[in-house]
């Protein structure tokens, strides 16, 4: 039987009854929780469509895509009921750009059925499908359907399988970085207090959002104007039981000086977000490195096999034991 597509708009469609089971089966992290998808979809400038592929036995695949096209919006959210007249489906992870935005029980080739179904649903204005975070094996599976593919930024991850703890991790790093991280750990021990929570909406959501905005502003440019992180989205995300929030506060003033959010997974948690007060504004120098240490501590204590650190800062991530995985963006015909 050809799978059928159920196209959902998280803004208005209620959470499907099978959603929790599908998430668990597909290993989808907290950014796929329905309340999180809903908050995110409302804060978008284009429609976010979640498509579930079904066969006779139930769901067999799920895809998250932004329906990006013209007319586009730069300074406003998507109006209720509006949609582009023509454009492309941008298949991406809903909350993290480090992981793909699809899962197919039958393998990547099943995306062809998804593309066909979406063209039928969106009409001739759906000109193409763009896949992000694809690996070469997935592109081979799609064969001649791949019109164009381009190498994008690699994803960095630390193999933590079999590590007994932070000391074990430090032993595997080069001497200079190891010594540097130990000095930072001692230096910051009294200067910041770290609070790690899961399944608890962060109490200083507005402060967290402000920090994240400051961080995003660094990447803002004439061609890149990301929608700011919204407080409600952060509250929903951090309220998920499989989200881990690291809050760094000044022990004397209680001021939030840094925040990191990780999305847990039985094998491969993802470091989703990091933001800190700039050092010139009273922030703590080297807090970033302390956070990496705390992440490794958390991952090894919970026996996860791999910690995904995401894109960028390759030299730095390499120095803390991360290795790169090639990633491609592909245009499907």
């Amino acid at each position: 039987m050809t799978p059928t597509a159920e196209v959902l708009d998280p803004r208005t469609d209620p959470e499907p009854s099978y959603w929790a089971a599908l998430r668990a089966r597909a290993g989808l992290r907290a950014d796929w929780a329905w309340p999180v998808l809903r908050a995110q979809a409302w804060s978008g400038r284009c429609p976010h469509l979640v498509t579930v592929m079904h066969d006779a036995d139930g769901p067999v695949g799920v895809v998250n895509a932004g329906w990006v096209g013209l007319p586009g919006r730069w300074t406003s959210f998507l109006p209720v009921g509006a949609r582009p007249r023509f454009g492309a489906l941008h298949v991406r992870g809903p909350g993290s750009s480090a992981v793909p935005g699809w899962w197919m029980a039958g393998g990547t080739r099943a995306l062809i059925g998804y593309q066909r179904a979406m063209r039928a649903r969106l009409g001739p204005g759906c000109l193409a499908t763009v896949l992000r975070q694809a690996v070469p094996a997935e592109l081979s599976a799609l064969g001649g359907r791949v019109l164009l593919s381009r190498l994008t930024e690699p994803i960095w991850s630390v193999d933590t399988a079999g590590m007994s703890g932070v000391d074990d991790w430090l032993r595997r790093l080069d001497k200079k970085r190891r010594s540097n991280l130990r000095v930072i750990g001692r230096k910051l021990a009294d200067r910041v207090t770290v609070t790690i929570t899961s399944g608890e909406a962060v109490s200083q959501a507005a402060e967290v959002t402000e920090l994240l905005r400051g961080n995003n502003a660094k990447y803002k440019g004439p061609m890149h104007n990301p929608v700011p992180q919204l407080t409600g989205y952060i509250e929903e995300l951090t309220a998920q039981p499989d989200t881990v929030t690291f809050r760094y506060t000044d022990p004397d003033t209680g001021r939030l000086v840094g925040v990191g959010i990780a999305l847990d997974h039985p094998k491969t948690p993802v470091w989703r977000t990091w933001a800190m007060v700039p050092v010139d504004d009273g922030g703590v120098r080297d807090l970033y490195f302390l956070h990496i240490t705390r992440l490794i501590e958390w991952v090894t204590a919970n026996r996860r096999a791999t910690l995904v650190l995401g894109k960028g800062k390759g030299r730095l991530k390499s120095s803390v034991g991360a290795t790169a995985t090639e990633q491609y963006a592909a245009l499907l015909a």
């Binding site: 803004r11 208005t12 809903r38 908050a39 409302w42 804060s43 730069w74 300074t75 406003s76 959210f77 109006p79 209720v80 507005a206 402060e207 959002t209 402000e210 905005r213 929608v227 700011p228 919204l230 407080t231 409600g232 989205y233």
Partner: protein, 255 residues
Amino acid sequence: MAMRWRRGYLRVVRSSFATVPFYRELWALSGRTEPEVVPGRTGVDGGAVRAAALAGRVGDLVPLAGGPTEIDPLRGLGPVLAEHLAVTAGTLVAVVDPGTPRPPVDLPAGVRSCVLDPSGLAGPYAGVLDDVTDHLRRGARVVAVGGDKDLDQLAAALPETLAHLVTRVPVRDPDDLAAPVGPHALIAHPLLGVLGGLGGCGRWHIDHPRVYLRATPAGPAYTLLRQRSPRLVDVLAGHGRPGWCPRHGTPVVEP
């Protein structure tokens, strides 16, 4: 008039939902009424928001296109003074307030202004007080705006022969409109600025070109119609209910 006033409000609601993160989130996920922006979602308190809930959220009140983040507690002072006290060129407006960060910026052309901290009239603000005194000696008009106690402190600091020449304009919080007041007074809120003034008819008139007032289950909610950023829509403040002045045919708040 009522329809035009309402149309202005609907424009602000639509624009805020489309471009301002705070209202996008609040009204999309919870909802609002009059108007509903997501069919079937009616929210809490009709989508109005308590001023305390906006503390630390100024960044969320800026539209996606960007804009200022400063809150001006004296916003709207100029137009309201011009409307209710016929303040004209040559007048000195003295704001007496321990917390006022800067002089008003929207006074009519030719009107000068100054800010005085009542606790510093004999110290750092002595020079400003001298300016006020000189102005009175010259026979020019001085309008003093501030809390009752602050205005009393200013009067006590001025020479006895001049103090009575000052036009006193006490400021009332929106939840303090029932208390008796002199011929002139303003409604002001620390977040929203100056919302209106006491009319010659004895009613509290809303500065309707710039402020919209709406009744919600939690009390009156004020909207700034012309402040693009930070956007302040349906902010709950004080008590009372909206009404219309039978003499002037313009909106009032009834204590």
